[in-house]
């Protein structure tokens, strides 16, 4: 069924189709609509899930972890300060190997108080061990939500799917919402081998002395490494069922490209138009959509980018004292390759400032023209 829905509601429909069993959430703009619709599904009986109202995001994640450990498919959604408040529990979800799925609507951190989009909230959680997937359209949001449960439960790692505040969360566009039977065929019930059981009580997460802790960490990293192949496989399987797939990353018109632009989130969508326009003019430019951010799809990024003469990266985020976070990742991926292309780093659109085709075009033009970037980080559109 095709329906015109917001990005937020695309998440809700995905969670309903995935038959989540426990939803625990605390409202925060711009996420609230996600769980608002889910609470209606629960109240009306359209979704057979326990909706747990909690007093904070920290508790929301704690509830999800416990639900997941007891064998229930668990979901929550949040943004910005809500995600920051969850920080401790984000580590816990990973360490306990609970396959919780969360939607984070990218919202800038305050102060100055903002509800608009940038990626600093989710990227500040880069190192907690969650799988992170950045989405470009409402269709991708719905599809990724369904995929996320399957990925999480296969590798026993929590998955965060991420979408831009307002530009997706509050924007309505046509979304193909699959039938329940189709989704049931793709996504079997969550079946945890060892689960919390009141009749056979056990304690989890106890003191782990230096003889054991390191191995647990190693196994988390190993699971991340193995997750790359799993995400790819599930994405291909998804295509067989639903006709759509997204890849770990997506190269767009990168063959023979001299300059490749790297983007994430909704900027990718607008950038496609710019690439098409410049290709029509005979310019050899391409686009790389960075979708799965953690685990890092190192090999595929290298394979696509090393052939370019120059790479430019757009970051809607900033690691203070360093620069754009995606650019930093791309540089690290390319390091050590013989004759690796120079990386031009651009920061744009913080706090939801609009990013237009003109902005994107000028970034590509600059990279094309300039022998080397004038600064290690170029701030596009900052008014000084």
């Amino acid at each position: 069924m095709k329906k015109v829905v917001t990005g937020n509601h695309a998440v809700s429909y995905g969670v309903k189709l995935a038959r989540a069993q426990v939803i625990a959430a605390y409202p925060i703009t711009p996420q609230t609509q996600v769980v608002e619709l889910l609470s209606e599904f629960c109240a009306s009986g359209k979704l057979n899930a326990k909706f747990i109202k909690v007093e904070s995001e920290h508790s929301a994640m704690a509830a999800c972890i416990a639900a997941s450990a007891s064998g229930a498919r668990a979901f929550t959604a949040t943004s910005a300060h809500g995600l920051a408040l969850m920080h401790e529990m984000l580590h816990w979800a990973v360490g306990a190997r609970t396959p919780v799925v969360m939607a984070n609507i990218n919202r800038a951190m305050g102060p100055g108080w903002s509800v608009w989009t940038d990626q600093n909230d989710s990227l500040a959680q880069r190192d907690v061990g969650w799988i992170q997937i950045y989405c470009e359209s409402n269709q991708e949001v719905l599809d990724t939500t369904i995929q996320a449960f399957k990925i999480a439960e296969r590798v026993l790692l929590p998955v965060m799917l991420i979408l831009d505040a307002f530009v997706l969360s509050h924007t309505s566009e046509p979304v193909d919402i699959p039938d329940q039977e189709q989704v049931d065929e793709f996504l079997p019930p969550y079946n945890l081998k060892t689960k919390l059981d009141v009749n056979n009580p056990r304690a989890y997460g106890g003191l782990t002395n230096p003889d054991h802790y390191f191995e647990l960490r190693y196994k988390i990293q190993k699971a991340h490494t193995e997750a790359l192949a799993v995400i790819k496989e599930i994405d291909e399987e998804y295509k067989k069922h639903f006709g759509r797939q997204y890849g770990l990353v997506e190269p767009y018109r990168c063959d023979d490209a001299k300059v490749i632009l790297v983007t994430s989130g909704t900027i990718t969508s607008t950038a496609r138009l710019v690439i098409d326009e410049m290709r029509d003019e005979g310019r050899k430019v391409g686009l790389l959509k960075y979708r799965v951010f953690r685990p890092t799809p190192r090999e595929i990024l290298r394979d696509i980018l090393y052939r370019a003469q120059k790479v430019c990266v757009i970051d809607r985020n900033i690691s203070f004292g360093h620069g754009g976070i995606f650019a930093q990742e791309i540089k690290s991926v390319l390091y050590g390759l013989p004759a690796s292309p120079p990386v031009y780093s651009f920061i744009i659109g913080l706090g939801g400032r609009d990013v237009t085709p003109k902005d994107i075009r000028e970034i590509i033009e600059y990279t094309y023209k300039e022998e080397t970037p004038a600064e290690p980080v170029i701030y596009r559109g900052v008014r000084l």
Partner: protein, 191 residues
Amino acid sequence: MKEIRFHGRGGQGAVIASEILATALFAEGKYVQTFPEFGVERRGAPVQAFLRFDTKPILLRCKVYTPDDIVVLDPMLVRTVNITQGLKPNGWILLNYPDNLDIHKTLQLHPEFKNYRLATVDATKIAIKYRLGPKTAPIVNTAILGAFVRITNYVTLEQVIDGIKEYVPLKIDENIEATKEAYEMVREIQS
């Protein structure tokens, strides 16, 4: 691609109007994208909503800067908001405007309206007649849509009525009647 901007006040239903129109266009085979002005809406404060539609998928994800047409749900907004900002020449301005006031006085204050096509409908009167919202703050969105599809022909009245059935939670019949009445009552103003 066509781009439409709705001007209203929080509570008048500008965002829902845009969503109903998007659903109607989608039902007729168009690709659509609609979004409110990004921010925190407050009842009575000026709000905007935007709609894009096209015959191919819409990849552009930035604000609407140069709309093809604008729809104004509150006549008083003309005084405080630069409603024609970026409006393409010869685009439609559809204004909710009281029948008992002379539009030419507004035109004298806004000579720039001459660059566009102007149409008015008393959507407030129609909404009050069908008891849509309180008398002091009627919900005019369904009425104004009837007028808009009449002047633009972007989509049929029937399709908009189907959209209303999907989106409007209460007084569906009254909303449909208001839409039909505005469809009949809208007038192009010759400047």
